[in-house]
Amino acid sequence: MNMNSTVSNSSVSIRDLSLNFGSVSVLKDLNLDINDGEFLVLLGSSGCGKSTLLNCIAGLLDASEGQIFIKGKNVTWEEPKDRGIGMVFQSYALYPQMTVEKNLSFGLRVAKVPQAEIDKRVARAAEILQIQPLLKRKPAELSGGQRQRVAIGRALVRDVDVFLFDEPLSNLDAKLRSELRVEIKRLHQSLQNTMIYVTHDQIEALTLADRIAIMKSGIIQQLDDPTTIYNRPRNLFVAGFIGSPSMNFLRGELVKSGDGIAFMANGVTFSLAGYDANEPLQPGRKVVLGVRPEHIKVNENAGGEEHDATVDIEEPMGADNLLWLKHAGHTMSVRVNGARRFNVGAKVKLSFDMALASLFDAESELRL
């Protein structure tokens, strides 16, 4: 394959990257192309190798095999500082003994940038991030959100091509997290830099990403834009990983029903009318049906078939109300409007929106 042509039109390209810690293989033959100006989120559960991949891109870890290109240049063996990257860490990693200003300018001073230029850049970053009043403080005198802003500023002043974020918001509380999320989004909209963002919070991934790469044990499971990931997960893992509460899975098989195909689980059949399959569905195949909690209607006749269920637990969450229902031997979660309340034990009718459901092969776990 011709490497150079593939590489040229993307900001960061990773080719056949493998990384082992001793005998443990953490990244396996990974390929990834990130477009210029793209916001790519690496999403995966703890220990799947997200940080490892990010550290490889940053040059903080040496790849065991493979190559990394940034802006078309092979940087596999470059020092971190020569890669044109800036990095923001979960623990902020501010230099505790330096003021905010010193923190911001440290990289520039190391690179012997003239003082005037340093001042200009620090001032600009401080303005963008609205941390001008904090410049003389030490990190210990800042709140978590302010610290994270300074950490971002440190990457900002260095005028880098690629921003790398390693779970930058995990240490903040929920409220601050959602505020800073918006700020990062806004920052990306105004800077239009390439950003690679590691998180295990799917809300962050869904809201921020142009594309999401979902990882599991060092392998990218799906790389797509958030809507596709959410609505058309490529396999069972992605389907279950994204969405809170999880997609409801029903194990069963395909059966003939009239002139079409239906799904049957625990003796109950579900019409598959409206499902957009990738391949012709064969009766007898063992499959898993996945339906998101918000794609089930309760006591609202949507025109399709209806199923009986019993309310097991109700979890009011303010805007929404999450119901855990017992239905044909499964427990199923359903999201309804927060204003609608049910009693535990109440009998309800469900109808499924099959157009938004997913079907997976029970063996290969791939989407049908």
Binding site: M3, D16, G22, Q67, N74, T76, W77, E78
Partner: protein, 301 residues
């Protein structure tokens, strides 16, 4: 994979070059002094070098003589006794003091300073002071006798059977403060919730210490044992200052045997053989530990 793309790979040796340069003193020390010196010593222990090292090999003669020497056997016995007792007592006393100090007491700083200050003093000083305090004609014995209990006898330094305990008293005085500090640091590192959970469970305090906290402090105990043990093996100054190995040879220790035979008896071969034996003993204790702690693929942090 095109060859051109792979070309940038720099030589392995040059990566991390600064770190390697900075580690040169360490590497030299490790290789030249510790490994080289040790091998040199082991090597010459098979010669009959006298005042100066010379290459006339005598096989295991030095070792045979060593193990036939009553003084060496006494020294080894002393070291074993002293080592075990001082390990046990330092840990027990150190831990008890730390546990007491950990009860949110008043004057914590004062107590800690009192327990720790002997550690600032050299073994020479420690030995001299305790020689003085334990002196039968001036110290504790004479004071108690002068109070009317005339048959009172406490003369460890001049009684061969118990002289090692006299040394132990001084060693504990000098060293337990540091053990207490280490233990205290360990105790302070225990999750507060554990204490709370134990209280809610209704577990008495001593049981909490014994069954929960102490097992949790394993790393601290290991560090402490390493520090104490490395001191025990080397014990020399204290004995020299306090008893000079006496009375007779009752308080001899291996390190002193090594020194005496290397320098006073001008029999390097014998001294080297004795130090090799010490090394073997140390290795038997240390190597498994070092392997567990530092080898064995332990993760960073």
């Amino acid at each position: 994979m095109t060859g051109q793309a792979q070309a940038g790979r720099p030589s392995k040796l040059l990566r991390n070059l600064n770190a390697k340069i900075a580690s040169i003193p360490m590497i030299l020390t490790a290789l030249v002094i510790f490994v080289g010196g040790t091998l040199w010593t082991v090597f010459y222990s098979f010669t009959n070098s006298k005042l100066l090292p010379r290459l006339s090999f005598v096989g295991f003669d030095q070792y045979e003589r060593l193990w036939a020497a009553p003084r060496w056997v006494t020294a080894i016995e002393n070291l074993a006794l002293y080592g075990i007792l001082s390990l046990i007592f330092s840990l027990v006393i150190g831990f008890l003091l730390a546990a007491l100090m950990d009860q949110k007491i008043r004057f914590e700083n004062t107590f800690r300073t009192i327990f720790l200050y002997p550690f600032a003093l050299s073994f020479i000083v420690t030995g001299l002071v305790w020689q003085w305090v334990l002196n039968p004609d001036f110290g504790i014995q004479s004071v108690v006798r002068s109070l009317g209990w005339t048959s009172f006898t406490f003369n460890p330094l001049y009684t061969p059977e118990i002289v090692i305990y006299g040394i132990l008293i001084a060693a504990l005085w000098q060293g337990t403060g540091l053990v207490m500090c280490l233990m205290l640091a360990g105790l302070r590192g225990i999750d507060e919730d554990i204490w709370k959970a134990a209280r809610v469970d209704g577990i008495p305090m001593w049981k909490t210490y014994l069954l929960i906290v102490i097992p949790m402090m394993r790393p601290v105990f290991i560090t402490t044992i390493v520090i104490i043990a490395s001191g025990i093996v080397k014990v020399y100054d204290l004995v020299v200052a306090q008893t000079s190995g006496g009375p007779g040879i009752a308080s001899e220790v291996p390190a002193k045997y090594v020194y005496d035979y290397m320098f006073q008896a001008q029999n390097l071969g014998q001294g080297f053989a004795a130090s090799t034996m010490m090394l073997v003993t140390v290795a038997i204790i240390i190597v498994p530990w070092a392997y567990l702690e530092f080898g064995g693929g332990r993760k960073r942090g």
